[in-house]
């Protein structure tokens, strides 16, 4: 099925400036993987070298953080909207 993924401002340069991208997938993880197949430059910003979602990349299914659902295995239906929401962290040393 096809669902919409909302792209945050800093990553839109990698999605032809699209705010929303339609991708296929039966789970959040599949949809995100297909997003990275479609727009390969996103891969390094969403996933670390070991293939895990970066911990400052938050993924919401509608209004819920998938960490509190079934993480990347969370199933999706065609009315769902997946959002990529940054958390901003840093500091000295």
């Amino acid at each position: 099925m096809s669902i919409q993924i909302l792209i945050p401002t800093p990553l839109r340069q990698f999605t032809s400036n699209l705010e929303s991208v339609a991708v296929e997938g039966n789970s959040v993880g599949e949809a995100l993987k297909n997003l990275c197949v479609k727009y390969s430059a996103l891969q390094k910003h969403l996933y670390s070298d070991d293939g895990k979602l970066r911990n400052f990349v938050n993924v919401y299914l509608n209004d819920e953080d998938i960490r509190y659902l079934q993480k990347e295995s969370t199933p999706i239906s065609d009315k769902d909207v997946v959002s990529i929401i940054p958390s901003i962290a840093g500091g000295n040393i």
């Binding site: 945050p8 401002t9 800093p10 990553l11 340069q13 430059a41 390094k44 910003h45 400052f56 938050n58 919401y60 953080d65 929401i85 940054p86 958390s87 901003i88 962290a89 840093g90 500091g91 000295n92 040393i93």
Partner: protein, 140 residues
């Protein structure tokens, strides 16, 4: 090129000094004008990192980010980037900053030495995540 109003600069400076010895953090709101990023307003965000680590860490949560997006939409501006302080440390982006950065955003860092403003710089991460590059900016 990042253009910071005097009011925005003063807000960042004061926030850094008030938060010392902890790091402060906040959002830069503004508009893109060709190659220039014009910061029209900044607003402070409570540092949500564990208190014991706030002397060298800051965190803006996804909920904070979504609230900032709502504010930006209401004001018809964009989130241009973020600011934070480095207490008793230079205003140079660190490895930890790099590991946690998003591309495109301006990362303004203010150095606070012994409770007082020292200097300020802005950084943008390269798209290959290899490093931060200093961004020219003006205070007007």
């Amino acid at each position: 090129m990042l253009k910071l109003s005097k009011e925005a600069f003063e807000s960042i400076r004061k926030h850094g000094e008030q938060a010392f010895p902890h790091e402060c953090c906040g959002v830069l709101l503004g508009k893109l004008n060709g190659e220039q990023r014009v910061v029209e307003e900044v607003f402070a965000i409570e540092n949500k990192f564990d208190e014991a680590e706030r002397y060298h860490r800051f965190l803006i949560t996804p909920d904070n980010y979504r609230e900032a997006e709502k504010v930006a939409r209401a004001k018809k501006v964009d989130i241009i980037g973020f600011y934070h302080s480095h207490p008793d440390s230079p205003s140079v982006a660190s490895k930890y900053d790099l590991d946690h950065a998003f591309p495109w955003f301006s990362y303004v860092i203010v150095s606070i030495m012994k409770n007082k403003y020292h200097d300020i710089h802005s950084w943008i991460m390269e798209n290959d995540r290899s490093k931060f590059t200093e961004e020219n900016f003006t205070i007007e």
